[in-house]
């Protein structure tokens, strides 16, 4: 039999890939199917799932409510639609800010002397591998009323003789945005760097020889050629921002509720896994749709793997 296996290349390949494939099937694909099944269920008062086929969770998610003012039987309650919309717009804004910050740095690294590039990249990796929760905590300390940002603004204002009351920055949408940008910035720098580094220097020289000024070179040469990096980075940033709940939990307090917080609460405090499952499927569908149209427009960058 061993002899047979030695000759059968196809069986060898299957055998080698089997542990990984089975593992991913059991722990990633089956859970997704299960989530779908549970989302059609109902919960009993103990918070256990009763398997059923009802669209109640989805209807509720999209605004149908039976808990209405002035005795109506049903009405439109936009609370969950608002949460979805807020998550989408936050993910969009975060991605925009991250691109704006990441691009100059990635360009700086890609255009520096090859001997120094690794050191500069290393300096991007350190904050990336500092634990996610610790990084949120660092911003919590900076943003609060007694934090460093208020102290520094206070000094400046004092020197200018302008009266100043410490700003309330923590527990605002702005704090969540800053936290998200900080958390995911390195994920954009690395892929943009990878695609910028591939651009041959002679292209810049050719552009200059043909009379393009630096701005025109950036617009017509650098930007188009680095698009694969921007696309890969956007996928690496947009998707996790849509699902993160720690940043809004710690920096947004009870003020900024995202779809991640909604899901988390259904599984812990509210004990309604069926509603949580429906919300998480909607989240998944939303990210897949955005990713699909985005990559269809710009192509799927191979930089995603390199990063």
């Amino acid at each position: 039999m061993l002899q047979r296996l030695r000759e059968n290349k196809s069986a060898q390949g299957t055998l080698l890939a089997l542990p990984t494939t089975v593992w991913l099937f059991v722990l990633l694909i089956i859970p997704l199917i299960l989530t779908l099944v549970v989302s059609f269920g109902r919960r009993n008062p103990d918070g256990n799932v009763i398997y059923d086929f009802t669209l109640d969770n989805y209807i509720r998610l999209f605004g149908y409510s039976t808990d209405c003012p002035d005795g109506q039987a049903s009405c439109f309650d936009p609370i969950y639609v608002n949460i979805l919309g807020r998550s989408l717009s936050l993910a969009f804004n975060t991605t925009m800010f991250v691109i704006a910050l990441a691009y100059p740095l990635a360009y700086f690294i890609a255009r520096s002397h090859p001997r120094r590039r690794n050191m500069y990249l290393f300096m991007v990796l350190i904050p990336l591998w500092t634990n996610f929760v610790i990084r949120v905590y660092a911003w919590m300390m900076l943003l609060r009323k007694e934090g460093a940002i208020n102290i520094i603004i206070g000094w400046v204002m004092n020197a200018l003789n302008i009266p100043f009351a410490p700003l309330e920055m923590l527990y605002t949408p702005g704090a969540v945005l800053v936290g998200m940008v900080y958390e995911f910035l390195p994920f954009m720098i690395l892929p943009i760097y990878t695609s910028l580094e591939k651009i041959d220097n002679s292209l810049y020289e050719a552009a200059a020889d043909l009379g393009a000024n630096p701005f025109k070179t950036l617009l017509r040469v650098t930007l188009p050629l680095s698009m694969p990096g921007v696309v890969a980075g956007t996928i690496l940033v947009f998707i996790p921002v849509m699902g993160t709940f720690i940043v809004s939990d710690i920096l947004g307090g009870r003020q900024v509720i995202l779809v991640g917080n909604l899901i988390q609460r259904q599984f812990l405090d509210a004990r309604d896994p069926t509603f949580g499952s429906a919300a998480s499927l909607i989240l998944m569908v939303m990210t897949l749709i955005v990713t699909y149209f985005y990559t269809r427009k710009f192509g799927f960058g191979e930089e995603i793997v390199v990063a």
Binding site: Q12, T14, L24, P104, Y107, E205, F267, V305
Partner: protein, 298 residues
């Protein structure tokens, strides 16, 4: 013309972004030496050594460890020790398993043709395109439904009852780590010069010997960087662990998160600082490995 000339705007922007990346971390480290127990404002460094801890209200006046008071405090914290132990146990176990099976899969996908190949390849992208929380609650549902069924069917009671713990966290970590190992090793295999293997075979080595003496040593740096990447992913993971851990399997990120919602002393900052140092060394190692590899390639 100097090819590495950058405009002053680019340099200024780069400095600002680096400042943005590092300022919070520097602040975090600074506060780990804070004399104030409440840690809301920085009340200066802990000034002196003494035999016992001397407090003035919430200010530490002196301590046996002096400036490093909160680090000593941290060392005495059993919960941190337990969480650190759990984190390492999970990360090491999950890294070993995912590196072995992930490398096998990379070899299969790069070198062989088989029926389930497209499915195997496609499933690797799941952790990249699906938000972690979706995977987290899915895995939680799987385990809780399965454990519920098993406990009822086999009438398990007391300690024999299946429940969430280190095993479930480890299994879930492997699920999101394997794809990264496979993709990294696959990328290395793509640039692999097959003539070395052919030479070995021509010289009479059989397939296994060729793999052991030629292929494996050549892809080892790739496997190592895949393993280190997987290891850091496991150490860093919050979301999946959050949904799959149970009593007694708290990891460091989960522990820190718990603290952030309650009382924060500079001990958290001391813990963060130690963590940053450890990660710094790990990333440095990864970098050196990759440098050596790129040198041997060129």
């Amino acid at each position: 013309m100097n090819p590495y000339r950058r405009s002053p705007f680019v340099i200024a922007a780069a400095i600002l972004v680096y400042f943005f990346l590092y300022a919070p971390i520097v602040g975090l480290i600074l506060y780990s030496f804070n004399a104030s127990r409440t840690n809301v404002t920085f009340e200066g460094f802990i000034p002196a050594f003494s035999e016992n801890v001397v407090m003035d209200g919430s200010l530490v006046k002196s301590s046996p460890c002096g400036l490093f008071h909160w680090y000593c405090d941290l060392a005495k914290n059993d919960d941190v020790a337990e969480a650190a132990g759990n984190t390492l146990t999970i990360a090491i176990t999950a890294t070993i398993i995912s590196t072995v099976i992930g490398t096998m899969a990379a070899l299969a996908l790069q070198r062989y043709n088989f029926k389930i190949k497209p499915f195997s390849q496609l499933s690797l992208y799941i952790p990249i395109v699906i938000p972690e929380i979706v995977m987290g609650i899915g895995i939680l549902t799987l385990f809780s439904q399965f454990f519920g069924c098993a406990n009822e069917t086999f009438n398990l009671a007391g300690d024999a009852r299946l429940s969430l713990g280190i095993a479930t966290v480890t299994m879930s970590h492997i699920a999101f780590m394997v794809p990264f190992v496979t993709l990294v090793v696959q990328a290395r295999l793509q640039g692999f010069d097959k003539s070395y293997e052919e030479a070995a075979m021509d010289l009479g080595a059989n397939e296994w010997t060729t793999f052991r003496r030629v292929t494996f040593p050549m892809i080892l740096p790739g496997i190592m960087s895949g393993a280190l990447l997987a290891f850091t992913l496991s150490l860093d993971d919050f979301v999946i662990t959050f949904f799959t851990n149970g009593p007694g399997s708290t990891t460091l990120p989960i522990y820190v998160y718990g603290l952030l919602r309650r009382i924060i002393t500079p001990q958290v900052n001391a813990l963060s600082t130690v963590w940053i140092l450890v990660v710094f060394l790990a990333v440095l190692m990864l970098q050196i490995l990759q440098n050596r590899e790129s040198k041997s390639h060129s």
